[in-house]
Amino acid sequence: METKNIMIVGVGGQGSLLASKLLGKMLLEEGYDVKVSEVHGMSQRGGSVVTYVRYGDKVYSPIIDKGEADFIVSFELLEAARWMEYLKPGGQIVTSTQQIDPMPVVTGAAAYPEDLVAKMKASGAKVDALDCLALAKEAGSSKAVNLVLMGRLSHYFGMADEVWQKAIETSVPAKFLELNKKAFELGKNA
């Protein structure tokens, strides 16, 4: 099987680590070769962050390059647009509609771009945008955006539901399991 590529993008501090941990575990369990690359240090401080998840028969490079991503999963709208060039033709963007102003917008040096979903679609990308923060709060915690996005991704991913359920059970602390499962369902069925 040719290597498949998932990018998880967002703003430092949004907590994308759980999503990549869950995907990594699930894909390993399914027998694939897997590589997951993270960003640590300076750029974590409210900067643009990206995690690469790659799987297939044999994965060499730990990173995903422009035009290679089968999926871009984004915690924040502007970040989905920023990384769009990494999407392969025909690839799918799954994004939260949450907007976090970057410092140039906060200081007034730049404006937060408008109509990003429409613009991405007009450029030919397949975009599924939903208010993941609202769904996460509905599930019981604003921190469950991770699982809302994974639920939405599961829509396109071609992996059996029980495989996802098992991955969630092994990645999430027991205390938060029900909350996270609910977030996953809300994302999936939104």
Partner: protein
Amino acid sequence: MKQLMLGNAAAARGLWEAGVCVVSSYPGTPSTEITEEAAKYDEIYAEWAPNEKVAMETAFGASLAGKRSFCGMKHVGLNVAADPLFTCSYTGVNAGMVIVVADDAGMHSSQNEQDSRHYARSAKIPMLEPADSAEALAFAKKAYELSEQFDTPVFLKMCTRIAHSQSIVETGERVEAPVKPYQKNIAKYVMTPANAIKRHPIVEERTKKLAEFAETSDLNRIEDGADKSIGIITSSTSYQYVQEVCKGQFPVLKLGMIWPLPENKIRDFAKSVQKLVIVEELDGFIETYVRELGLDCCGKEAFPLLGEFSQNLIAEKLEQPVHTGKALDEALPGRPPVMCPGCPHRGLFYTLAKNKCTVLGDIGCYTLGAAPPLSAIEMTLCMGASVSATHGFNKALGKESEGKTVAVIGDSTFMHSGMTGLANIAYNQSNSTVIIVDNSITGMTGHQQNPTTGYNIKGDPAGKIDLESLCKAMGIRRVRVVDPYDLAACDAAVKEELAAEEPSVIISRRPCALLKYVKHNAPLKVNTDKCVGCKSCMKIGCPAISIKEGKAHVDDTLCVGCGICTQLCPMDAFESTGKEA
């Protein structure tokens, strides 16, 4: 068991399996997690040392005593430890000693992108370079064998993409290394000129033997390819990009031992292909060696000296299909890293900017004080340089600069190498003001304890160095503590200490807002009836505050209620939401 493991965690697992007993390091991205992970194994004594030089000397001492030891650091940390490095190459080791150096091509979290492979050659110490987590584990173990077999410290060289990528490893069990009883050996371990002069030829002989080992070791392997028009010599993450693109089309000499290099293996490989291509990030280290052998090759004339490589870059250079995607047609605002909401450094830098101070900065989260809108820091060089450079600045300009120039350095960085700069100020009496931003943790690298926090690497109570007493003991009479959340107190402290006609230290003290034990206030909100949109609150660059429809707006998912903005607002428009944080 087969599992996904971070390169750094795999290296730590390798240390454990190799029977390592003592680990001493200073944190530095991308090397930090090796020591954090090593500390989780009960059989290993692990610690954070005040700096890399101390860490390396500690590891050396443990090796001398007869137990396998380790120290890990980032590339610039190796500069700090270069002094013991070059001479422990001469003494050799007793029990095995391994040094991780982690480079950061692309400068994800560093002040330069030096290529640490040069250290292996110049200090005459062998260097292994893994290309994924499985190799990080295996090479860590192999490094200890080589260390003891050849009586030398051994480098394990990581880079950001190997250190911070997870790939599949199969773990093994720990094998206890027998303690090698310490024996007094003045000729080997006392590096006076008379002894060192006898050790140097041993070092040169050792390198020759290691080069012979490199010829036959499976650390260096050839992966054959049918198309012999080119043959590629590569290592580390570059190897992964090459095979991602070429999928075995061309023969590849994959080097796992980067120093010393296998002359005959390279010559034979060159003969087997029409043209040699060297693919390596940063400097042309392998290329230089290959050219010294008189072999023609293509290296840095095609592949950049700067930044990281990727599969598309390799594809382009090797004339293979390059993937392309479609970007949006408009320029998007960037998202640079920023000080977190509630960061204690913000109030201090606001004060320094307001007082138009010349701020010589240092290495840590607070380097972000150079970013707009605060734009307060005017120099950042290396660990500790703020203090020494402020002394030099004031010695050069005297009264012209003394009243407005300050050094800003973090608690951990001060312990690392700021203290010696302060000793110079105290001794040679420059009228300098040093501000220690004490957030009670090593922040940037992800919350490591340090000698001022009172806790060790495992979070257990430990010795605690009192910064006020330390500065006073060094001869600084004016030492005062301020809370950076209190802008009036900060302003008074900065004005008074700059005006004083003697050296002074201000300790700006408040724990990092991200520490778990820090209790936050309820988020604030803006009373839009009071807000006049004057933007006074925008001067501090808080990511939680923006202007919406002409009025200030607080993002209550980000705000931690630190109250700095409240002190800036002339209309008293910020109010508590009263919501539990």
